[in-house]
């Protein structure tokens, strides 16, 4: 027990000593530090930037929270005494003295004058914080530091970076440091250093390196080379060639991904129509509005989560939205079918007119309830951001999620049609209504449920599409023509046709776009569809036999 106490006391003393030592060291720099902090409030942009840079140079890690607060627009001067403070919180702001770190209690925005940051300030803060954090124990912070320091133009950070690189163990951080160092050394006056820099970079075939090396191969307006040393020029040109080859491949892969991503958006938009139009033969012009209803359901669920559910579960709102949207759009679909469409079977072109009317009314209804402007739908945390699959190939999480989701919906639907009693009844009714009826299937009920299913799936698509696009009363109008094209191109009545159709059109579009531009690309696709239907009037996957002739 006693030894334990002793150990404890010793430990305490040591801690005290360290703190005291640090305190002594910091008082020696205290004046410079307080001056620099005070400089943050200077009126001019240049003075502010100078103060930030000075703080970075001082190497005092107390500056980090202050600088970060500044970048977040949370640095204020207090009106009462002109003191420079950092604040946190929205309406009731908790103040901390910027220079001393002393807690100053709460205040409201009325007591404070904000020191506005702009992009240039944020860049400067990034560089300064990078300098301060380059020795941080957390590798993630070191990585961020190394990356932000690329942007600082000051060559005097070179020794700092060299030190850091020598100490660094984590590969990612080493890579970032090498890149940063190389960039700074490329502008060095010493040709040997420049050549080493290029050699250091030669294994990294990324767009960033391309950006660094390209200037070395250029000529100046007066005809001379920007890089006087031919050896360095040759090395740079060779590296650039290798990077370009690699980037071409990357671009190809990226195009493919983008095509699949666009295809899955088209697939989601069209899949509900494949049921209502493809299976039931209703030219459902209100299909787009079902998607819109799904998206607005997402808005409502999100709003409910914001108000009633603790913030840590916010990311789940999207999961809850899926069944909610299915139910809302499905219910509207069933109501439409029972109220209007069932009187129009066998007159497909008249369903077009009636559903067109419904779509106008639904649009105006949503406009009356939610207002005409766009509604905000935020990506949940797990769908924000991107993964860099290859250098230069950024795959965003929301796109990946939509691809996966589209496939899941399609698979689920296929399974439903194939393996459940309802699916069986539905197929029976579409193939031979009177026979199905004679076998005791309630055809009216099946019709309603089928239409509800198609509408519900459109609603589910709305949940996903709200993550990449607008949520406005016009949302559905943007998808309706495309959806019909996909279904007709793929082959009416065939789920696999819809998949093939959506993917073909998506990929085709994305490979055309870089050459033809977005607009001409789309026109070419439409012309292609027109010509394709001449060749295969029933689409890619045509149903065969008597049913196809009906």
């Amino acid at each position: 027990m006693a030894t334990f106490m002793a150990a404890f006391m010793i430990a305490g003393l040591v801690v005290c000593g360290i703190t005291l030592g640090a305190f002594a060291a910091s008082t020696a720099r205290a004046d410079a530090y307080t001056d620099a902090i005070a400089g943050l409030a200077s009126p001019g942009f240049a003075e502010k930037a100078a103060a930030i840079e000075a703080l970075g140079r001082l190497g005092d890690s107390r500056a980090i929270p202050v600088l970060e607060a500044m970048a977040d627009n949370q640095l204020y001067t207090r009106k009462a005494d002109g003191r420079l403070v950092t604040g946190s919180g929205g309406r009731d702001i908790t103040l901390t003295d910027a220079a001393t770190g002393e807690a100053l209690g709460p205040a409201t925005s009325r007591d404070l004058t904000r020191i506005n940051a702009n992009n240039a300030i944020r860049t400067a803060v990034g560089a300064a914080v990078g300098r301060l954090q380059i020795g941080d124990p957390d590798p993630a912070k070191r990585l961020a530091a190394a990356e932000t320091m690329v942007r600082s133009e000051s060559p005097d950070t070179v020794p700092l970076l060299r030190d850091a690189l020598a100490r660094e163990q984590v590969e990612d951080v080493r890579a970032a440091l090498t890149l940063t160092l190389a960039k700074l050394s490329l502008s060095s006056a010493d040709p040997g250093e420049r050549l080493t820099a290029i050699k250091d970079l030669s294994s990294r075939l990324t767009p960033e390196v391309r950006a660094l090396v390209t200037p070395l191969t250029l000529t100046k307006p007066d005809g001379t080379f920007a890089e006087p040393d031919p050896q360095i020029r040759a090395a740079a040109t060779e590296l650039l060639g290798r990077i370009d080859t690699r980037l071409m491949l990357t671009e190809l892969a990226l195009n493919l991904f983008q095509g699949i991503s666009l295809g899955s958006v088209l697939l989601l938009a069209a899949i509900g129509l494949a049921i209502t139009f493809g299976v039931m033969g209703v030219i459902n012009m209100a299909h787009g509005e079902m998607i819109m209803l799904g998206a607005y359901t997402t808005v409502v669920v999100q709003q409910a989560f914001r108000e009633y559910i603790p913030a840590e579960f916010f990311g789940l709102y999207l999961i809850i939205s899926i069944p909610a949207a299915f139910l809302v759009a499905g219910a509207v679909g069933v109501a439409m079918e029972r109220g209007i469409i069932r009187f129009l079977y066998g007159r497909p072109l008249e369903t077009l007119l009636a559903t067109w009317g419904i779509s106008l009314m639904l649009q105006q209804l949503v406009r009356a309830i939610f207002g005409a402007p766009n509604k905000e739908v935020s990506n949940p945390g797990w769908m924000t951001g991107a993964v860099e699959a290859m250098p230069g190939m950024v795959l965003t999480y929301n796109r990946i999620a939509i691809i996966v989701f589209a496939i899941m919906v399609l698979a689920g639907l296929a399974a439903l049609l194939r393996y459940t009693p309802f699916g069986l009844q539905m197929r029976a009714v579409t193939q031979n209504r009177s026979m199905a009826s004679a076998m005791g299937i309630r055809t009216g009920w099946v019709d309603a449920m089928t239409f509800g299913l198609g509408s519900g799936i459109a609603g589910v698509a709305g949940v996903a599409l709200s993550q990449v696009g607008n949520v406005s009363p016009n949302l559905g109008q943007g998808y309706i023509v495309d959806s019909f094209m996909v279904v007709v191109f793929g082959g009416v009545g065939s789920l696999w046709g819809v998949l093939a159709g959506a993917m073909t059109l998506g990929i085709f579009n994305k490979f055309l776009e870089p050459y033809a531009g977005a607009m001409l690309g789309k026109i070419l696709i439409l012309v292609f569809i027109i010509l394709f239907i001449q060749k295969r009037p029933r689409g890619l996957f045509a149903l065969k036999g008597r049913a196809a002739e009906a």
Binding site: I283, M285, I340, F343, L344, R347, P348, L349, E350, T351, L352, L353, A354, W356, G357, I358, S359, L360, M361, Q363, Q364, L365, A368, Q477, V481, F484, M485, V488, V492, M519, L520, K522, I523, L526, V527, I529, I530, L531, I533, Q534, K535, P537, R538
Partner: protein, 385 residues
């Protein structure tokens, strides 16, 4: 003599009477009421009403043209807006060339938007449009050519029903996107506007306005007679047979492709003329006329009036557009509910449109002496009787 009797047989005697009365009413009475009566008079037709009616007349011709191909040949074109707009663009190009040096930048040859895009000379497809006769020819030729090519592709491959509707929709959508492009040389999104004069008359003058109105009414009447001529001819019967049983007609040895192609092309020409008359009256033509929604709306007019009856298409165009004009002013926040409800009610309760409903009513009033032999689908024959 043969022609005269053929002409006379287009309509029954009562039909001709109705036709002539309506013609006189629209062509003579409206302009007279507009010009002669003082604005305070309750019978005065104000100028805005005149231009509104002029617009409706063009829409009626457009609806008529769609009815010809949809109501009689059974092929629903969801791309008729394209023919309408192409006719309009041809007329617009003529009107643009008439501006001459009165444009904003004062260039004698190039329209303002071309000067603006740094173009130095008129592209070849604008040549000739300074001549009215050439523009008038193109108003018919361009839509006809497009319809012929598209129809040849579609009917030859026996594309029918929904598939035909979808490819015409794809066509109109592609054209809209193409015309949106500024590089196309048709003024992009803004289209062609700021017209000054037509055939030397100031386009904003009251007289010109009335002239255009009367021209629209006359052309609508002619269009009606031509359509009537077609549908009462042998070809018309073949078309209706195609509509009702295409394969059977084919097996009987008729050339379904040619019959449809002919009527589709005629229909496109009528739509083009409607567009050409529309443009000087509204003063602008732009790609939004080719939005797929607009073309669907044309089908709605026909359906509301009663497809398969030429009169129905005209009535439908007037009813829907009149309702639209009225409600967008009287109930700007709710008019879409009225319009949407109108479509639903029409499809549910008036499957043969207003004309079919009227025929049904008349039959019922005739106390079912004969138990309604005329299937409402044949309201056209009713008219002839």
């Amino acid at each position: 003599m043969l022609l005269m009797s053929r002409l006379a047989s287009l309509e029954s005697r009562r039909g001709w009477q109705v036709f002539l009365i309506l013609l006189v009413l629209t062509i003579v009475l409206v302009p007279v009421l507009n010009l002669t009566l003082p604005p305070e008079s309750p019978f005065h037709v104000p100028t805005y009403m005149l231009s509104l009616l002029g617009k409706y007349l063009c829409f009626a011709l457009l609806a008529l043209s769609l009815d010809l191909i949809w109501g009689y040949a059974g092929a629903l074109s969801l791309g008729h807006g394209a023919f309408f707009a192409l006719g309009g663009y041809c007329m617009g190009m003529y009107l643009m060339r008439q501006i001459g040096t009165r444009g904003v930048y004062g260039n004698p040859d190039l329209p303002d938007f071309m000067v603006f895009l740094n173009w130095t000379e008129l592209p070849w497809y604008w040549w000739g449009f300074d001549q009215f006769w050439f523009a008038a020819l193109m108003v018919m030729a361009v839509p006809a050519l497009l319809a012929y090519v598209l129809g040849w592709l579609a009917f030859r491959s026996r594309i029918t029903g929904v598939y035909f509707s979808i490819i015409t929709q794809a066509m109109v959508f592609a054209l809209m996107l193409a015309f949106f492009r500024n590089e196309m040389g048709f003024g992009g999104n803004n289209g062609l506007t700021d017209f000054k004069e037509i055939l030397g008359f100031n386009i904003q003058a009251q007289g010109t306005r009335i002239g255009l109105y009367v021209a629209s009414a006359v052309v609508l009447a002619l269009g009606y007679l031509i359509s009537r001529f077609i549908v009462t001819s042998k070809l018309g019967r073949v078309l209706m047979a195609i509509r009702d049983a295409e394969s059977r007609v084919r097996f009987l040895g008729y050339s379904v492709t040619n019959a449809k192609l002919f009527v589709f092309t005629v229909s496109a020409i009528l739509a083009g003329i409607a567009g050409a008359l529309y443009v000087p009256q509204v003063g602008i033509i732009n790609p939004s006329e080719m939005s797929p929604g607009n073309s669907i709306e044309i089908a709605v007019w026909v359906a509301v009036g009663g497809r398969g009856t030429l009169f129905g298409a005209i009535i439908g165009a007037f009813t829907v557009n009149g309702a639209k004009s009225f409600f967008t002013g009287a109930a700007p926040e709710f008019w879409l509910f009225f319009l949407g409800a109108l479509f639903i009610v029409c499809t549910l309760f008036l499957p043969q449109g207003i004309v079919g409903f009227a025929a049904q009513m008349r039959a019922r009033i005739a106390r079912k002496a004969t138990p309604a032999p005329e299937e409402v689908g044949n309201a056209a024959s009713k008219h002839r009787a």
